[in-house]
């Protein structure tokens, strides 16, 4: 059967724009860590609520703090939390998913019962519950969000492993005399990489959104440390007088998420057809 030759300019555009936006995020994050035009925490009541202008490119908030500097610092916070959380969730979830998917038996049943229970807490509910117990701070958020997303990774990895197990090349490896452990590591794990990359990318977006939402609710990184979420929260009572306080942090989140989504789409287009082979 012939393949459809569809003009595929779109995925390349996806990858470009997505990569560009994510690149800007990464850059902003590093800049935010190392240097900002003003100290994000520096209060200057003389310059409070200044609209965007030559001195403060994106304006100032009600404490006179420079919005741009706070945005950059917030980039570092969001990005670092996002990366650490995603990495932790993916690492733990993959390990568990591969082991239970391959070994099956009672191990699989117990793990899946626990996993399904955790998955019964929708969205950020479990993270909220954990934060109620752990308290809101940077490491609490990382722990809470990682635990909230591990079950999703386990489910996806396990499903992939289950379908890989049925493939003949896994049987061929056992017939060669290879042990179950070797077969898992050499044949099953590498073939999980493609769906994992896609999942990790998408999950990174979810986590950044979740962290912003938690900060917006006041349950994230505590002020005065700036995150995009708590900057938005702070802008709400002042939104009529100083709309720039609400526009820029939200725009930053939206552009970041857009970049991640586009990148995820481009990755899926590239990796999936090859997986099907």
């Amino acid at each position: 059967m012939t393949t459809t030759a569809v003009p595929f300019r779109l995925p390349r555009a996806n990858a470009l724009v997505g990569g560009l936006l994510v690149g800007i995020l990464a850059l902003a994050a590093i800049v935010g860590l190392l240097w900002t035009p003003y100290d994000p925490l520096a209060i200057d009541f003389r310059a409070r609520l200044a609209p965007p202008g030559p001195a403060h490119w994106l304006g100032t908030d009600d404490f006179g703090r420079d919005v741009l500097s706070r945005l950059l610092a917030g980039a570092w916070t969001s990005a670092s939390i996002g990366v650490v959380t995603t990495a932790a969730a993916v690492a733990v979830g993959t390990l568990v998913g591969i082991l239970t998917g391959f070994l099956r038996g009672w191990v699989d049943r117990v793990v899946m019962a626990v996993n399904d229970t955790l998955l019964s807490f929708p969205g950020i509910l479990f993270a909220l519950g954990l934060l109620a117990v752990l308290g809101a701070n940077k490491w609490g958020i990382i722990l809470a969000l990682s635990l909230a997303y591990v079950p999703t990774v386990v489910r996806v990895v396990r499903a992939t492993v289950l379908s890989l197990r049925e493939r003949d090349f896994v049987a061929a490896s056992r017939i060669c005399g290879n042990s179950a452990l070797y077969t898992m590591a050499r044949h099953v794990a590498p073939n999980c990489i493609a769906p994992l990359i896609i999942l990790a990318t998408v999950m990174f977006g979810w986590i950044i959104l979740a962290e912003s939402a938690l900060s917006f609710l006041g349950l994230g990184v505590p002020p005065p440390a700036p995150t995009w979420g708590n900057m938005l929260a702070g802008s709400r009572p002042l939104i009529a007088q100083a709309p720039w306080l609400g526009i820029f942090p939200g725009l930053a989140i939206a552009l970041t998420l857009l970049g991640i989504n586009l990148l995820g789409d481009a990755l899926r287009d590239r990796l999936d057809p090859r997986m099907a082979r």
């Binding site: 059967m1 012939t2 393949t3 459809t4 030759a5 569809v6 003009p7 493939r167 003949d168 090349f169 049987a171 061929a172 490896s173 056992r174 017939i175 060669c176 005399g177 290879n178 044949h187 590498p190 073939n191 090859r274 997986m275 082979r277």
Partner: protein
């Protein structure tokens, strides 16, 4: 000289981006005639059949030529007129019965659709016709069938339902694209015969697209041979098959499996011995307890000696694949024993390792049996991991040698499976199997997924390697033609039991069991007997239209006719 019903005139098809797929194809079809288009994958035959009803996949377009139905150029028809042609004047049957029917719609409603669109019948009349047609195609309990869903029927029954659905509006032309390829051998024969009968009853012409030359020869009046997008030869079936002009046609005919001379029976102690093997599949887990276990293999015994090929044949559900998996240790057994070189390989680890080192499997699906992330060199070399006696350099040399054995050069070492064709992948799988010079090889449907010409090459390769290395081979297949070519002894399985066994020639020429006879009768063999072109059949059973269109004769379970090997030219 009747005007042609369908006239394909210099048809060309290509992708939207300019890649040509089909070039200047021309042929005619007269009313009531059965014409076959034959070719292997990539020949473009499916594209041609799709082009008639303008059902080309997205991204593929007609780039030239005309298709005329009863003189009307189909390209000039507007959308609505074309829709009237589809299903009304021209019906189409597809290959995969599992996916051709909408799984979420009751069968009765699907059968009704074409009738509602193309005939003016009222509801009662439609129902009457549908029930009558379902009876005609031998669906039991037609009333209940109307409300049932497709998943409740087997593949063969679904294909009959498809035929019913397509023939209800009494089309002038039926396009059948590999209608039976996905079915069991016995079922294939029945469905094809049914299709030919229905066509004859309704005066419907049939455009039959297939890769199965022997089946096509059985039914078609004329044959069009395609290769790489072009017609290489066409003509009356008899003439084409008896004296093919084009080299490709000759190659296709050569590729038909043929029985070679019988080899002397193997001697020596058996490499593998199976005694009263029982394999159960656990029943589905229910809320309380389990459903009853299904017995896949019910007390099977067999012996395979060095250098001989023992074939296990049977339809789907016969248990032959489960038997193979149990022997190699991929599924647990519920009774009986498997002995390798006289000892139980599962007794301890050392013996298990011996067994693993000394036996290998070639699987059916070349797309699934190679790890897509490993290169060919690594794949073929993996069995050598446990070979302590060889150094790394020796192992590499062995890998190259194995590749050479299967006809692949060193350049393939660094390639990935997705860069190889189906035939090449199967060669790699075979190289992996023989790299350790095993004593025992199980080949589980090794050629079923391949093109005819490639099948022939792979079967010949297996035979050659066996002659060279002297391994014992267990050949599992549903394809009797392939079995006829390679087997020394044949075991026939039905419902988990062996119903017949014996030397190949004896089983094929004088089958004793009824099931064997049914299997053989479903297999058509080309032969030329007498002046009129007629086909020799094995074992009796059903017959199909001879050149004079005589109706089929009911089952004759009698002495088979010896096929005369087809003289296919120099």
């Amino acid at each position: 000289m009747s005007a042609a019903l369908l006239s394909v005139d210099r048809l060309s098809i290509g992708t939207a981006s300019g890649l040509p797929l089909v070039r200047d194809v021309s042929f005619d079809l007269a009313a009531g005639e059965i014409v076959a288009v034959v070719g292997e994958s990539g020949s473009g035959k499916t594209m041609v059949s799709r082009a008639v009803l303008d059902l080309l996949p997205p991204g593929v377009v007609r780039t030239g030529g005309a298709i005329r139905l009863a003189g009307i150029d189909l390209a000039r028809l507007d959308r609505n007129a074309m829709r009237k042609v589809r299903g009304g004047a021209v019906g189409m049957v597809f290959q995969e019965p599992m996916t051709s029917l909408n799984p979420a719609m009751p069968v009765g409603r699907q059968l009704e659709e074409a009738l509602r669109l193309h005939t003016g019948c009222n509801r009662g009349e439609r129902r009457r016709r549908i029930l009558a047609m379902l009876e005609r195609v031998a669906i039991p309990d037609p009333e209940r069938c109307l409300a049932a869903y497709p998943h409740e029927f087997s593949g063969g029954m679904r294909q009959r339902i498809m035929l019913a659905s397509v023939m209800l509006p009494k089309p002038k032309l039926l396009i059948a694209d590999e209608p039976t390829t996905a079915l069991d051998a016995v079922v294939q024969a029945e469905v094809m015969a049914l299709m030919a009968e229905l066509a004859r009853e309704n005066g419907t012409a049939v455009l039959l697209v297939s890769h199965d030359l022997s089946m096509v020869a059985h039914f078609a009046r004329r044959v069009v041979v395609m290769q790489a997008g072009a017609v290489v030869e066409q003509g009356a079936t008899e003439a084409l098959l008896l004296s093919p002009q084009h080299p490709y046609t000759r190659r296709l005919l050569e590729a038909l499996p043929r029985r070679g001379p019988a080899r002397p029976p193997a001697d020596g102690p058996p490499v593998v011995e199976v005694r009263d093997l029982v394999v159960d599949y656990a029943g589905r887990r229910r809320l309380v307890g389990r459903a009853a276990a299904k017995r896949a293999v019910d007390g099977v015994s067999l012996v395979v000696r060095p250098g001989e090929t023992v074939a296990i044949v049977g339809g789907s559900g016969s248990g032959k694949t489960s038997l193979g998996k149990a022997i190699i240790g991929l599924v647990p057994t519920a009774g009986g024993a498997v002995l390798f070189r006289g000892t139980d390989p599962f007794a301890d680890r050392r013996r298990l390792l011996d067994f693993r080192l000394g036996s290998q499997v070639v699987f059916q699906d070349p797309y699934s049996s190679l790890d897509p992330r490993m290169r060919v060199g690594a794949i073929v070399g993996e069995p050598l991991r446990h070979d302590a006696g060889l150094s790394a350099r020796q192992k590499q040399a062995r890998v190259v040698e194995a590749l050479a054995d299967v006809g692949l050069d060193e350049g393939h070492l660094g390639r990935y499976p997705h860069q190889l064709s189906g035939g090449q992948r199967q060669r790699v799988a075979i190289a992996r199997a023989i790299v350790r010079r095993p004593a025992f090889v199980i080949a589980d449907e090794p050629v079923s997924a391949l093109d005819m010409t490639v099948q022939k090459q792979i079967l010949a390769l297996l035979a050659e390697l066996q002659a060279r290395y002297g391994f014992a081979c267990l050949f599992i297949s549903h394809d009797l033609a392939a079995v006829e070519q390679v087997a020394d002894r044949v075991l026939v399985m039905e419902h988990g039991r062996i119903v017949e066994e014996g030397p190949r020639d004896r089983v094929f020429d004088a089958p004793r069991h009824a099931y064997t006879r049914r299997l053989l009768s479903a297999m058509t063999v080309l032969g030329a007997v007498g002046d009129d072109f007629a086909l020799a059949r094995r074992g009796g059973g059903w017959s199909a239209a001879a050149a004079d269109g005589a109706p089929p004769a009911a089952g004759r379970g009698g002495a088979p006719e010896n096929p005369v090997a087809l003289a296919a030219g120099p």
